[in-house]
């Protein structure tokens, strides 16, 4: 195989109109569900940042060493679409460097980082008149007991706040399956009910916004031959496969199947979800395979496979 230095860099396109976030997905008539699946060795931090940038500013920092979204027609006060990013496993610190460098946003400041408590989040929104296009919530830092109420309130507030010129909301949820693991898993039928309850909540959120669910797809977590009904891999497979059947688009980050390489960090694969996006909004997933290289500074280079 030739080295990546010989290959031509490619822009990330998830949709058939050669965009990472198609304008058609931002139409008010249809809310899409997208899955960003990753393995343990290939974290999607850069991909989430890049997609959030596209949602906010319609620019993309991939393949660039310096990026200035301020040149975009959109600003954080008047973005292309709203973004709420809620993480169950990471704090804002994990993303702050990338956001500062490429999106020029300090997500650790109170302006963007709202408290997860219902009451607190509402107050934050009322106080912050600037109605920022971006909000970061960390359930890891603030507790996940009221996660659903927090998010639903947040989305409804955003919908109210922009009534006259309503913009689409994109909700990024990082590893919501953690809610399932943190519950008492004893009887099997209760376990399935818990999974269905989580899916029901995600559906309610999806009725208000486009949802991007970040989840793990490691081989060890995908096993449904288990005899134990409360086996973690069975719970995860049940949750994930039901989500796949609800999804419009699937992006997978995987380690190289051929082993490790100095100039390749992993593979990125874009595939259609189980739903027919073309007949719903007139744009299809752009099915492609890429390889990518992430350097120490967080710059990403993308190549066709």
């Amino acid at each position: 195989m030739s080295s990546t230095s010989d290959l031509q860099q490619q822009d990330l396109s998830l949709y058939s109109d050669n965009t990472p976030i198609s304008q058609k997905t931002l139409s008010p008539n249809y809310n899409s569900l997208n899955l960003l699946l990753n393995s343990q060795s290939n974290k999607p931090t850069w991909l989430i940042t890049s997609l959030i940038e596209s949602c906010l500013f319609d620019t993309n920092y991939i393949n660039k060493f310096t990026n200035n979204p301020e040149n975009s027609a959109y600003t954080i006060a008047s973005p292309r679409s709203h973004v709420v990013f809620a993480s169950f496993i990471n704090g804002s610190r994990v993303y702050s460097k990338l956001f500062k460098k490429y999106l020029k946003l300090d997500i650790e400041s109170h302006q963007f980082h709202s408290q997860a408590h219902v009451k607190g989040s509402l107050q934050t929104l009322k106080r912050g008149k600037q109605t920022n296009g971006f909000q970061f919530i960390s359930f890891l830092e603030d507790g996940f007991e009221n996660w659903f109420d927090t998010l639903i309130n947040k989305l409804e507030q955003l919908r109210k706040g922009t009534k006259e010129n309503r913009k689409k909301i994109n909700l990024f949820l990082e590893n919501p399956e953690l809610v399932l693991y943190l519950q008492d898993q004893s009887p099997s039928h209760q376990q399935r009910e818990a999974t269905n309850e989580l899916l029901s909540k995600l559906t309610q959120l999806n009725q208000l916004a486009n949802v991007f669910i970040v989840s793990s797809s490691d081989k060890q977590l995908l096993d449904w031959s288990s005899e134990l009904n409360n086996d973690l891999s069975l719970i995860h497979s049940d949750f994930l496969l039901k989500l796949v059947h609800k999804s419009d688009l699937i992006v997978q980050l995987k380690a190289l199947t051929t082993g490790r390489a100095d100039d390749v960090t992993g593979e990125l694969k874009v595939s259609r979800g189980c739903l027919d996006l073309t007949s719903s909004i007139g744009v299809d997933a752009s099915e492609k395979e890429y390889i990518y290289l992430a350097n120490k500074e967080g710059a990403i280079k993308l190549f066709y496979r």
Partner: protein, 297 residues
């Protein structure tokens, strides 16, 4: 044979336009090829049917978020218990109704019969999906009880087993599902394969394999090409076995096929004689009139 092939596509058309008597249609799908495209085709056929009375379409949703435009009634059921579902699903069964269930995976196997009782009537046609790739729940109390899938397959009058057109090998399909590997250009395509089992009232099952194009609405029967594959395999086995050339070229095969074998010639002129052994003398034959071994007949 051609009559059977023609009638199979007619039968499929009749099932999809609801003209054939099949009150419970089950679609089995996987993450590699979902039933969405079959549903799309089904709705196209039902709404464009020449039937005088168009059915009412009721959508019972466990996993669909966006309300489909074709549904006259959309009832979200995810997260509800059976009594709540009973409360919510109030159907007007006086007119012909197509009920779409998306999907049966969310129903407990102990509650299936009660759920179906809500829906079944002489005027309803149930079209439901069951995802084969979602793990099924094993009953801890009765591990030997039939699974939800077995029960559904038993009740269904038509079963569509949906697969990608380019992947016919079940083992390969299982591998792709278990690794969540969606082959580019082969998974979730508008053209797909459906193995259809249609159960007649008499109890006889008709089994066909179709390729369905949901864009052009064309159906073709997929021929069983096992024999052809076998002969190809034989050729491949001979390749590289020795340094000698044991295979035949296309030209050689053609010439070989054109050779007229003697028995074919004999059938032309003497076919009417039946099973008798016929011997025709030729000019160089040595015929001895006093041959002691001559056949007396």
């Amino acid at each position: 044979m051609s009559a059977t092939l023609a009638s199979s596509t007619v039968l499929l058309n009749r099932i999809l336009t609801l003209k054939e008597n099949s009150p419970f249609i089950l679609a089995l799908d996987t993450v590699v090829q979902s039933s969405q495209y079959l549903t799309k085709e089904f709705i196209y056929k039902v709404t464009n049917s020449t039937a005088s009375q168009k059915p009412n379409i009721v959508y019972l949703s466990f996993e669909t978020t966006n309300v489909p435009t074709y549904a006259s009634e959309f009832i979200p059921l995810l997260g509800l218990t059976l009594p709540q579902i009973k409360e919510k699903v109030k159907l007007n069964l006086s007119q012909k109704t197509l009920i779409i269930v998306d999907s049966f995976n969310y129903i407990k196997d102990t509650e299936l019969s009660q759920f179906l009782q809500l829906l079944i009537s002489p005027n309803t046609i149930i079209y439901g999906t069951y995802h084969l790739s979602v793990p099924s729940v094993k009953s801890v109390d009765n591990p030997n009880k039939p699974s939800l899938l077995t029960k559904l397959q038993f009740i269904a009058t038509t079963i569509f087993d949906i697969k990608p057109l380019s992947i016919d090998d079940d083992e390969q399909l299982d591998y792709l599902i278990s690794n969540l590997d969606f082959p580019i250009g082969s998974s979730n395509q508008p053209v797909f394969q459906a193995n259809v089992v249609y159960r007649r009232k008499s109890g006889r099952s008709l089994i066909y394999k179709f390729s369905i194009d949901s864009n052009t609405h064309e159906y073709n029967i997929v021929q069983n090409d096992q024999e052809q594959a076998d002969t190809q395999d034989d050729q491949e086995l001979l390749d590289g076995l020795t340094t000698f050339n044991l295979t035949t070229t296309q030209k050689q095969k053609l010439v070989k096929d054109q050779v007229e074998l003697p028995y074919l010639e004999a059938q032309h002129s003497l076919g009417s004689v039946g099973g008798a052994i016929v011997y025709e003398f030729e000019k160089d034959d040595d015929y001895d009139e006093d041959d002691p071994y001559e056949d007396p007949f």
